[in-house]
């Protein structure tokens, strides 16, 4: 899938005109809020953390608290499941069995 990174290597799902596209399968099945809590450093490039630690690419790591991202992703998956069950119900499929 294609995501976009800004000049701090933070991930975005849409380009605001200042970003560049990156192909990755790391975020397969993840919701937008989860993706936008991550930093992706492409291969051949490096990112320097505030404390001076240098991370060469490729690296994918959360810059937001992962516990928050995980909670958002779980809610997204719960909603996806609910939507699917509703769709099956509309089609007359017994989803409780």
């Amino acid at each position: 899938m294609t995501i976009y990174i800004d000049n701090e290597y933070k991930c975005h799902v849409a380009d605001d005109g200042t970003m560049r596209p990156v192909e990755t399968d790391f975020f397969h099945g993840k919701c937008d809020a989860f993706i936008e809590g991550y930093r992706l450093v492409p291969e051949g490039e490096s990112w320097t953390r505030e404390d001076g630690e240098v991370f060469p690419g490729e690296m994918v790591a959360p810059w937001k608290d992962f516990a928050e991202l995980d909670a958002v992703q779980r809610e997204y998956e719960r909603q996806q499941m609910e939507d699917m069950r509703e769709a099956l119900t509309v089609l007359g499929v017994n989803v409780d069995g």
Binding site: R49, D51, G52, E53
Partner: protein, 387 residues
């Protein structure tokens, strides 16, 4: 050089000296910590009064509190011993009654908050009508000014701070107000959610204020009954905090203080459970694993299959910010919550034998440290460690 005191569980002090410089000091005393700095450090001024505690539990408010059971301005505050405080009485008119949970300017009692979102809960009533509150105040400049004031009634309060601050906490009953058997459950949690009350403790990180106007963080690790163990140090240099290696002179030898998960054949089994193949599969294969004399090797399976290896026990990443691998070959390493090929944070190992790192500062709690190798590639790991 300076001296420092960090408290173990139960208050038993662990004292050590800290020295700086580009070369390893000779004739060191026992329990001396050497920080490998670019320039010698000559003016560090550590003292027992500058060691800070932080709760190691989900509740970040340090317990025991500054005050114990007390009567103030006609109000009785009872420390119930389980982290809750029962309040009874009428505050004298014109004077508020306070129960101090964490005190300003008393390093062993105030606590440190790093940038992030927090939720304060456990107050009672509505502070508009009941006129009492549970408060956390913060300061980024040693209490010259207060940077944040956060109050919770029975409704929790979520707030975000963008720099490291010292924090104090207290219960306040306004003058003339009467409370009857009101129970406060002071709780400060990371994030925006409120969960069930749990008593805080004093087993978390120690922060040390130094004379050169900076805070040094000594990460904490729970192991073998010793609660506080410095594993990394930071030096404030040219306007930024720089990570520095730390060594401790103990048993007449300089010991690495990074938390190793593998090094020179040692698998650190008590922490990792050993190393091996994952229990699940990715694209069908598990690949190969070998524990050699001085390195671990992981191989992928031919064609399209992946191989993956992992610690056999989950490792607590709390208080660590970086996972390092010294190795070569080709593949991915990182951390995840299951023994499979999925990562919550990952980075690549290339063909050059060197240190590869991944940022894990956004992660905490139990994770497996893992490797994933594609095709028929091989990845060799000579050292794996956390800082």
């Amino acid at each position: 050089m300076g001296e420092c005191l960090i408290t173990r569980r139960g208050g038993d002090p662990l004292s050590f000296k800290v020295v700086g410089g580009a070369s390893q000091p000779s004739n060191a005393e026992e329990n001396t910590i050497w920080v490998n700095t670019d320039t010698p450090i000559t003016s560090w001024d550590f003292s027992a009064s500058e060691a800070h505690r932080r709760s190691g539990s989900r509740n970040l408010i340090v317990y025991p509190y500054y005050h114990t059971t007390r009567v103030a301005n006609g109000v009785e505050f009872t420390d119930n011993g389980d982290g809750t405080i029962t309040v009874n009485g009428t505050a004298s008119s014109g004077a508020d009654a306070y129960f101090v949970i964490a005190a300003e300017g008393i390093p062993q009692k105030e606590f440190i908050l790093t940038p992030g979102t927090y939720t304060l809960s456990g107050g009672v009533g509505d502070d508009t009508t009941n006129k009492c509150s549970l408060s956390v105040y913060t300061s980024a400049d040693d209490w010259a000014t207060t940077s944040g004031r956060y109050r919770a009634s029975e409704t929790p309060r979520t707030f975000t701070i963008d720099q490291t601050v010292k924090a104090r906490a207290f219960i306040q009953v306004y003058g003339g107000v009467t409370l009857v058997n009101q129970v406060f459950k002071p709780q400060l949690e990371k994030g925006s959610a409120t969960t069930s009350f749990i008593k805080g403790d004093a087993t978390g990180q120690a922060w040390i204020k130094t004379a050169d106007n900076g805070l040094r963080q000594f990460n904490a690790l729970k192991k073998n009954g010793v609660i506080l163990r410095p594993v990394s140090a930071k030096q404030y240099l040219n306007g930024a905090w720089i990570s520095k290696p730390v060594k401790l002179y103990q048993n007449r030898a300089w010991q690495e203080l990074a938390q190793y998960l593998y090094k020179n054949g040692e698998q650190y089994t008590s922490l990792t459970g050993g190393w091996g193949l994952g229990s699940g599969t990715v694209s069908g294969g598990k690949g190969g694993f070998a524990a050699n004399a001085d390195h671990l090797s992981f191989t992928g399976e031919a064609d399209t299959y992946y191989g993956f290896g992992t610690t056999l026990k989950a490792v607590d990443l709390t208080n660590f910010s970086t996972l390092h691998v010294y190795g070569d070959g080709g593949g991915t390493f990182g951390v995840g919550t299951a023994q499979d090929g999925n990562f919550n944070a990952s980075a690549s190992v290339g063909s050059t034998l060197q240190n590869y790192s991944v940022d894990i500062s956004g992660l905490s709690g139990s994770h497996y440290v893992k490797f994933k190798i594609g095709g028929s590639s091989t990845l060799r790991a000579y050292e794996v460690w956390l800082e």
